[in-house]
Subunit: 201 residues, 2 copies
């Protein structure tokens, strides 16, 4: 029970603003470029402010990906299929396109994801973000394939789990060539659409 609450500020907003700056740096120059002072400069705040909102650098690093994870979940929840109920194919396409780094926001998310990957090896909390998310994504894709099969839009002899893995692999493998400029987001999208055309009868 707080007896005194002087000078209240929006803590989450402050922390998020700092996390934003960190994520920008990580996407452009990797985790090696992260220092408290560098993040402060990027955010346009003092280093003292960062110290006030984060106990240490590790907590700052940890908050930043949790914040990014929250951003992604926000987007997935807010999607809520604006134009009525989507068909399984529309949902499938939406999910697959969501994973490719096709604009600045998703590009940053993608790059931050790979930057944190090695950290996941030793950090169980970080690992959980990936370990929990991936099987859920596989299940979602397989379920959508199953729904399309029940609607008669995909041949019944296709294995939904195998198709889910192929679809995910196809989408997932677009990441590196897209961020490295070897392929445009449009080409990546076309590759996915091409395969969806073949999968759906």
């Amino acid at each position: 029970m707080p007896v005194d609450v002087p000078r209240q500020v929006d803590h989450k907003a402050r922390r998020d603003q700092i996390a934003e700056a960190l994520l920008d740096i990580v996407a452009d120059h990797g985790l090696e470029a992260i220092s408290v002072r560098a993040v402060a400069a990027q955010a346009g705040v003092s280093a003292g402010r960062i110290q006030h909102y984060f106990a240490n650098k590790d907590e700052l690093l940890a908050y930043a990906i949790e914040y990014q994870d929250w951003l992604v979940q926000q987007r997935w929840n807010e999607q809520a299929w604006p134009e009525g109920e989507p068909t399984p194919r529309e949902a499938l396409r939406w999910v697959l396109l969501e994973t490719i780094p096709r604009d600045d926001r998703r590009r940053r998310e993608w790059l931050v994801g790979v930057a944190y990957l090695i950290r996941m090896l030793a950090n169980p909390n970080l690992r959980a973000l990936y370990v929990d998310g991936l099987p859920r994504l596989y299940r979602l894709l397989a379920d959508l394939v199953r729904m399309a099969q029940e609607a008669g839009d995909i041949a019944p002899d296709r294995d939904p789990d195998v198709e889910a893995e192929l679809l995910f692999g196809l989408a997932d493998s677009q990441g590196p060539p897209v961020v490295l400029g070897l392929r445009t987001p449009e080409q990546a999208t076309a590759a996915i659409d091409y395969y969806l055309d073949h999968l759906f009868q």
Copy 2:
């Protein structure tokens, strides 16, 4: 023409030994963990030695991935298909399994690859390693599919380029779950074999 060549040592061997130490650290703790002193400690040599063989840290970092790239090329060249000519299917399987981090060596190569990825964005020399290699791999896979089609082992209505992309995507997307322990190398291998079984008639 060297007039004086006192105290000759194998320069490449020394540089490679140092690069080995660097790659070990990068795979375990990322590029952020790289310092001249840390690499020296890992290699069991003095920091002065590293200074003697590399002008600066950037050159050391650059040499290390070039060395890794050389290691990978060595393995691909030395393969040379020990037991006679391989069938297209055998070659396809070999190439695909080669990309998944199924043992310590390949796991290190995989992790180092992702660690260097963000650096590729700004460094053209690093980017070239990826930009040159990927299309070549796609072509190789597509050619092998074509050869199998000509031999009547793959249905002629399959698009070799699409199949190449699916195969690569399937193999490529095994990397993260394998290094993070979400899937065993055996399971990743089984996923590839399962799809090859379906692709080949």
